[in-house]
């Protein structure tokens, strides 16, 4: 049977098993919205701004592992979505974005709401398509889902001119597609697997450093088995939190700029480093010249271009994390060897010494609310089992430090692009995927304002998100850098003229709470979390001058961390730069 292009789009989504699409209508997308109206297999979530659509689809994808789907119109519809697409791109999140385009005969004419969507998104998508013939539409949609979710995942844009959505073609949705120019590698090279095992078994001061790749590949069980067998310390990147249980003794915490003292020192002192699904980003390595000077590095990544990009690697393994870890385990079991317990014991003794420094300690006697305390209490009250989204800044780092994630897909944040405004719309995607779960959005008063309009979407779809607003009346991370590196010249980091968040939440039809005393934190959180059917906006008035520690300043190495004045007996010099 012949269908219109718009109907084909909807049928493709249905046949792809898409549950939700996140979007906003407009002229060039109207045929698609009409086809959407006349079906009920795919549910559409109407956001209030296209950036919110992309973040919501992204949050859905991060929480479920399935590609998030976005539908926007041409021109400002797609340009508004670009920040969300770039956010997904930097964190390798599977996403399919469908954008309406002006009719084919108007392309290039500077038509109303025309923008070169394929050109604008090119640097921040894994791939994109402009569909010029309705006969190619179904295959293109299949390719989009295939490319978005295979190999190193990422967003894929399908730009469809309005006339193509009106033209008719026979609908056949291919069950699979093969592309001669695209064939991601899954299996690691056996020779490299053997070399890696040689290094791992002989290591005296090993560290296993894993990132978002473990989450994307859902290799957490395999990782646990490998780490458990070897008894090596394991550290996660910001993107990898939850891939190794935070409660496990072998876990040394997050590494990097605001990672634990023990994780960073272990990275610096290690003799063998196994990196899996992590990309040696600058926030992880600090100064590359000082990075892990004694390490022989094994790097496992599904994207060959990640390997050797920033750091010289001795054993490169291109492959999917799950498959490679299984092969590593098989090779280790085949040899029936274990690492030398005496050497490991010595290494662990050193790590535990670093650990005893208690690098996350903060002043618990303060009369103002400490942001760390709020997150600690949230962790306790949710049993560590909530989905936590965050925005970007200090609160994000404290969430990563103080909420201990034991499962993958529970920690949802914009790590690569660092997009303020991500937290609330992302939480919408998560809550839709898991309607009965506790979804907390840890945010700050600067970030939350950036996509505050989505409170309206939350009302429309009854999304009972718990917003934990750590309100310090500053762009906290900007203020912290200005305190450390700019002689306390707080240039435009002050959030003046803030709204009354309680009244704001209430005006959107939600519950608002203001919490000002440390003694009220626990009871407020408990009360907020118990309102299972409502969105609760908890506005915590926190310490204005609290800083995130430890910190590796720009140009410093892992061993040159700046510690909290509360962490150590010896007062630290505050000058860093």
């Amino acid at each position: 049977m012949e269908l219109t292009g718009a109907e084909i789009v909807m049928r493709c989504l249905r046949d792809e098993g898409v549950e939700y699409i996140f979007g906003y209508p407009g002229g060039a997308a109207l045929h698609i919205y009409d086809a959407l109206y006349q079906q009920d297999a795919v549910k559409h979530i109407l956001v209030r701004h296209e950036q919110g659509a992309a973040h919501a689809a992204d949050g859905y994808a991060r929480a479920t592992g399935r590609p998030g789907v976005v539908l926007v119109t041409s021109g400002p519809g797609i340009t508004n979505a670009v920040t969300g697409i770039a956010t997904a791109y930097m964190d390798s999140i599977p996403m399919v974005v469908i954008s309406g385009q002006v009719p084919t005969h108007l392309i290039g004419d500077d038509a109303f709401q025309e923008v070169d969507a394929v050109g604008i998104t090119r640097p921040c998508v894994k791939h994109n398509f402009l569909v010029k013939d309705v006969a190619d539409l179904a295959t293109t949609m299949k390719k989009a889902f295939y490319v978005a979710s295979s190999g190193r995942p990422g967003p894929v844009l399908v730009d469809i001119p309005k006339d193509v959505t009106a033209q008719k073609a026979e609908y056949i949705y291919p069950s699979s597609v093969s592309m001669r120019s695209y064939a991601p590698v899954a299996k690691g090279h056996p020779k490299q697997i053997k070399r890696a095992v040689d290094l791992l078994l002989a290591a005296e001061r090993p560290i296993i450093y894993t990132g978002g790749g473990i989450v994307l590949s859902e290799a957490e069980d395999e990782l646990r088995e490998l780490v458990g067998y070897l008894g090596h310390p394991c550290t996660n990147t910001l993107m990898g939190l939850g891939s190794y249980p935070a409660d496990n003794e072998l876990f040394v915490g997050m590494l990097g700029m605001h990672g634990t003292y023990e994780a960073n020192m272990a990275m610096h002192e290690c003799d063998v480093m196994l990196a899996i699904g992590a990309r040696f980003d600058d926030r992880i390595t600090g100064d590359l010249a000082k990075f892990a000077p004694y390490a022989r590095i094994i790097h496992v990544d599904v994207d060959p271009s990640s390997i050797g990009k920033n750091v010289k690697v001795e054993v490169p393994i291109v492959g999917d994390a799950k498959s490679v870890i299984r092969d590593l385990m098989k090779e280790i079991e085949r040899r029936g060897q274990k690492p030398d317990p005496a050497k490991l014991e010595k290494w662990w003794k050193q790590i535990n010494e670093w650990r005893s420094l208690d690098c996350f300690s903060y002043d618990r006697t303060a009369e103002v609310i400490k942001p760390q305390f709020v997150i600690e209490q949230l962790y306790k009250l949710t049993g560590g089992d909530a989905f936590v989204t965050s925005d970007v800044g200090q609160h994000q780092m404290w969430a990563a430090q103080f909420y201990r994630f034991n499962k993958i897909r529970r920690w949802i944040n914009s790590g690569g692009l660092g997009t303020m405004g991500f937290g609330l719309p992302a939480a919408m995607g998560v809550q839709l995927a898991y309607p009965d779960a506790t979804v907390a959005c840890i945010t700050g008063e600067a970030s939350i304002i950036m996509c505050i309009q989505e409170l309206s979407t939350c009302k429309q779809y009854d999304l009972p998100i718990k917003i934990i607003n750590l309100n310090n009346r500053y762009m906290g991370m900007v203020r912290q850098w200005q305190e450390f590196f700019y002689d306390r010249r707080y240039s435009h980091s002050y959030m003046d003229a803030l709204p009354d968040f309680v009244a704001l939440a209430e005006s959107f039809g939600h519950v608002g709470m203001a919490i000002e005393k440390p003694g009220d934190v626990q009871s407020a959180l408990r009360e907020g979390l118990e309102r299972k059917d409502r969105l609760v906006f908890m506005d915590f008035i926190t310490d204005q001058t609290e800083n995130v520690y430890p910190m590796i300043a720009a140009g410093k190495g892992h061993h040159e961390m700046h510690l909290s004045p509360d962490a150590d007996d010896t007062p630290q010099e505050r000058e860093l730069a």
């Binding site: 791939h127 490319v147 001669r180 120019s181 695209y182 060959p304 271009s305």
Partner: protein, 163 residues
């Protein structure tokens, strides 16, 4: 080091800008770039000349391979290869220069492909160095216009870039 990278890519709108965009976004340099469809009309072949350390060239090759439109590529400079560039030059050809330029064209094994009372248009094919030398030799007269195609190349012997 100078590298000549030959790329087979899908002959689709936008494929070229993906390659060009990659180079500008990541700050790699392009010395020259040529592209045209092959005997298989679904494929284009691009020849790209770039410079960089071994690490940078490794990244360039990996990043190019990552582009979904790139089907296959080969670093020609890794093995024996032939490179050619086509140049068209328009020169002033009056008085003694008329004979002198003709002689030079013979020496360089080029051709005169258009003649007027006052000009020659010359065609020369060769390596970059040969073309450079020819341009320098043409200082005997006034050069009006130089058009160079950029380098194309092919591996010697059995080695071939096909799918």
């Amino acid at each position: 080091m100078r590298h000549i990278i030959s790329i087979l890519l899908e002959n689709e709108a936008g494929a070229l800008s993906r390659v060009a965009g990659l180079f500008s976004a990541r700050g790699y340099n392009i010395e020259s770039l040529t592209v045209a469809a092959t005997d298989d009309p679904t494929l284009s072949r691009m020849t790209l000349v770039t410079r960089g350390s071994d690490d940078i060239i490794e990244q360039i090759v990996k990043q190019l391979n990552k582009l979904v439109d790139v089907v296959k590529l080969q670093d020609l400079t890794e093995g024996a290869h032939i490179e050619r560039e086509l140049m068209l030059v328009k020169v002033k050809a009056v008085d003694v220069a008329r004979e002198e330029v003709k002689r030079l064209v013979d020496i360089f094994r080029g051709r005169i492909i258009d003649v007027t009372d006052s000009t020659y248009t010359l065609e020369l094919t060769g390596t970059v160095e040969k073309l450079d030398a020819f341009v320098k030799a043409l200082e005997v007269t006034e050069i009006k216009e130089v058009v160079r195609s950029g380098v194309t190349g092919i591996a010697r012997g059995e080695r071939a870039l096909t799918i």
